[in-house]
């Protein structure tokens, strides 16, 4: 502890933060009654570009930290890297033998990490476009992957219901955290405790203590399998999506803040959050919904347009991500395309008021 303190001179604030619960619950009660404000207006989102090139379902998307390019992983077992502005294909990485389900680009190295259904997690060096490491240990398909924002620590999870935390350099499995009883769909790191979150097909969300390698909290509010997870870029909150609703949670304790109801006919596969408080949810039948984050108001209902020539059934969204600026939304779809969406630049609150605000939905049961 003494050597820690030299890095952090403001000890008072640290101490304050250590015991926040009592005061916070009080605030929460006060605020819950006072929310009657109207939701913030958001411009409707429109399809801007369709990028084709993959030969299979596009199952994962990762945006580069500098927002210049993005990577997509697909069921054709390849990873493709595209220019974000021009949408031109930069490189195709082949090395996996089954669908690529997880991708993450490192902020501190020229590295891309990929997870695949072939049970492997691979580390690509983007200076040489070669695999430099692989992380051995998963006994089944790997569905999710994330990199710690500040440490060289990688987390991967999948069908074997175990979260594995890897040391990037030495490839050692630091932790093998069990607890979920079914496939894990998402794993996400954040820099403050709880540093690791996972969602699973068993309908639970687990918040982990990263150093101890143990579950801190289990959130069992969802009725059905949880497939979507998004951590808010600015707030200390997150959203998880089950097939019937999207729930909002507050960290660090995992307080339930509320629910958004997408009323999708399909199953919500993916959600994404940007810093201007827009929550996107995409379902496996191609339906999309956009919510205002603060109030849970669904301001837009749309559906993707399948590429001409594709089947009616090939209209589903598997992966989605806002770019680093939050102005573009990328979706990976069943029709083998990546679609780029943006806010309608001509929209005003008068011309595009969006769906009407249902107050009862927001204050109702959470």
């Amino acid at each position: 502890m003494p050597e820690l303190l030299q890095y952090f001179p403001q000890r008072v604030e640290l101490a304050q933060y250590a015991q926040p619960n009592a005061s916070r619950t009080l605030i929460r009660h006060q605020q819950a009654t006072s929310i009657t404000s109207k939701p913030e207006w958001h411009a409707p989102w429109k399809l801007m570009k369709v990028i084709t090139g993959h030969q299979g379902w596009v199952r994962s998307i990762a945006i580069e930290p500098e927002n210049k390019w993005f990577a997509t992983g697909a069921s054709d077992a390849t990873i493709k890297i595209w220019d974000l502005a021009s949408s031109r294909l930069k490189v195709t990485l082949a090395g996996h033998i089954m669908p690529v389900r997880g991708l993450v680009v490192s902020e501190r190295h020229p590295y891309l990490f990929s997870a695949s259904e072939d049970k492997t997690v691979k580390n690509w060096d983007l200076e040489k476009n070669k695999i430099v490491r692989d992380y051995y240990g998963h006994v089944s398909s790997v569905y999710a992957l994330d990199l710690h924002p500040h440490l060289d620590v990688l987390a991967s999870a999948g069908r074997d219901a175990v979260v594995r935390v890897w040391d990037v350099r030495s490839r050692t499995a630091i932790h093998v955290i069990s607890g979920h009883t079914s496939s894990i769909t998402n794993v996400k790191f954040q820099d403050a405790d709880p540093q690791l979150v996972s969602t699973s097909m068993d309908g639970t969300i687990r918040l982990y203590d990263l150093v101890a390698g143990k579950t801190r909290q289990v959130l069992t509010h969802h009725k059905k399998a949880v497939r979507g997870l998004a951590i808010h870029p600015e707030e200390f909150t997150m959203a998880t999506a089950s097939s019937d609703d999207i729930k909002q949670w507050g960290f660090p304790e995992g307080d339930l803040l509320g629910s958004c109801y997408p009323n999708h006919t399909g199953i919500v596969n993916t959600i994404a959050l940007n810093d201007s408080n827009v929550l996107f949810s995409g379902a496996d039948d191609g339906s999309m919904a956009f919510f205002d984050w603060k109030t849970g108001h669904k301001f837009q209902d749309t559906a993707t347009t399948a590429i001409p020539g594709s089947l009616e059934s090939e209209r589903g969204i598997f992966a989605s991500s806002f770019d680093k600026s939050g102005l573009r939304l990328l979706t990976g779809e069943t029709d083998k395309s990546v679609k780029v969406w943006r806010e309608d630049p001509d929209a005003t609150p008068e011309t595009h008021p969006g769906n009407s605000w249902d107050y009862s939905m927001a204050v109702g049961e959470i």
């Binding site: 952090f8 605030i27 605020q31 069992t220 200390f236 507050g250 509320g258």
Partner: protein, 361 residues
């Protein structure tokens, strides 16, 4: 929806502290796992070993250093994991959602999907109820088929079809009756006409026969005589041209006698006599050898040996190396060894001729 206000990201220094603490904690685990802690490196222990076995009277002492072999962390894994062996370490978390209701009987009924029934294939020959057939007709839903059955349009169509059918049948019946009547009338008229014609012809004939009777009688008689004479003449001519045998036969036939070829006296010829004087013998009599009367035992399949009269036995397999008529090869020594064993077994004489077998006593 609760307020998001209290949920603000911790300040940077808190995050930095967390990060540092996490890094330190994780590094400790990594070091322990990789075995490169300073403790582990110098974890060599020294053991003093002294052997005092009973066999050797001298005790010899040595000091042994025990140290773990450092493993290369970059080596590929030595074995493959096939099973997830991890258990949930924590007690089960409280379930904070409402319990999922079990499906009621009605809901289960709604979910029931009728089994597929084909109109074309039923290889096992099951009896398929009419409801199932209807359901199969209507994409598997009984409701739709019922609705379609209850539709009045089906009844209307069926009625209209049967009406049209009945009308058509009546029309056909009337038309065929009319046709039948017309045909009958025609037939009757025709018969009437024919009868009239026949009557007229008969009357005419009766008138004509009374005139011509006498003339016709005489002419007929003359012609008959003429035919009889011509027949007689032809028969005579044929008889005169016949050979003796044929004539005898003819005569016999004329006098109503039945004679076969051979019995016809003076006419029949003995066919065999002129050709061969041989008599027919039973050929089996010739093939019998002298000793054939000997009593055969059951083992004796053949009456006589196959090459009984021949010298063939003496010629089979017997090399004629000694003979001079071996051609040009007689002088050449290189052919001498052919067909002969170079080495013999001990105590065995070289033999000429075929291999001899001895009966085992």
């Amino acid at each position: 929806m609760r307020s998001h206000e209290p949920y603000q990201r911790p300040p940077r220094d808190v995050i930095a502290a967390t990060t540092l603490a996490t890094r330190a904690g994780l590094q400790k685990i990594i070091d322990a796992k990789m075995g490169n802690t300073p403790m582990a490196e110098n974890a060599s222990t020294y053991v003093k070993y002294s052997s005092n076995s009973l066999a050797s009277s001298t005790t010899n002492e040595r000091i042994i250093k025990i140290q773990d072999i450092q493993e290369d962390p970059m080596l590929p894994p030595k074995h493959q994991l096939r099973k997830n062996r991890h258990r949930d370490p924590s007690p089960p978390a409280p379930v904070l959602r409402e319990a999922i209701k079990p499906a009621t009987a009605e809901e289960q009924k709604q979910w029931r999907i009728p089994s597929a029934v084909s109109h074309w294939k039923n290889p096992l020959g099951f009896t398929v109820s009419i409801e199932q057939r209807l359901a199969a007709n209507n994409g598997g839903t009984l409701e739709r088929s019922q609705a379609e059955l209850n539709n009045t349009n089906f009844a209307n169509l069926a009625e209209a079809l049967s009406d049209a059918d009945r009308e058509a049948r009546e029309g056909i019946k009337i038309r065929s009756q009319l046709q039948h009547q017309r045909l009958e009338l025609e037939q009757r008229e025709k018969e009437q006409r024919l009868r009239e014609l026949a009557d007229r012809a008969r009357q005419e004939k009766r008138v004509r026969t009374k005139e011509d009777d006498d003339k016709q009688d005489q002419a007929q008689r003359r012609e008959q005589i003429h035919i009889e004479r011509r027949k007689q003449a032809e028969k005579e001519l044929r008889l005169s041209r016949m050979g003796s045998e044929q004539r005898v036969r003819q005569l016999a036939r004329d006098t109503n006698r039945d004679i076969s070829d051979k019995v016809a006296l003076g006419v029949a010829k003995a066919t065999g006599e002129t050709k061969t004087m041989e008599l027919a013998f039973d050929l089996r009599l010739f093939s019998k050898a002298a000793g054939s009367n000997a009593v055969h035992s059951e083992d004796q399949v053949y009456d006589a040996p196959l090459f009984a009269g021949q010298e063939a036995v003496s010629h089979i397999y017997r090399p004629k190396a000694s003979e001079d008529d071996a051609g040009g090869f007689a002088d050449e020594s290189r052919f001498e060894g052919l067909g002969k064993a170079k080495k013999l077994f001990l105590g065995v004489e070289e033999k000429k001729g075929p291999v001899e077998f001895e009966r085992d006593v």
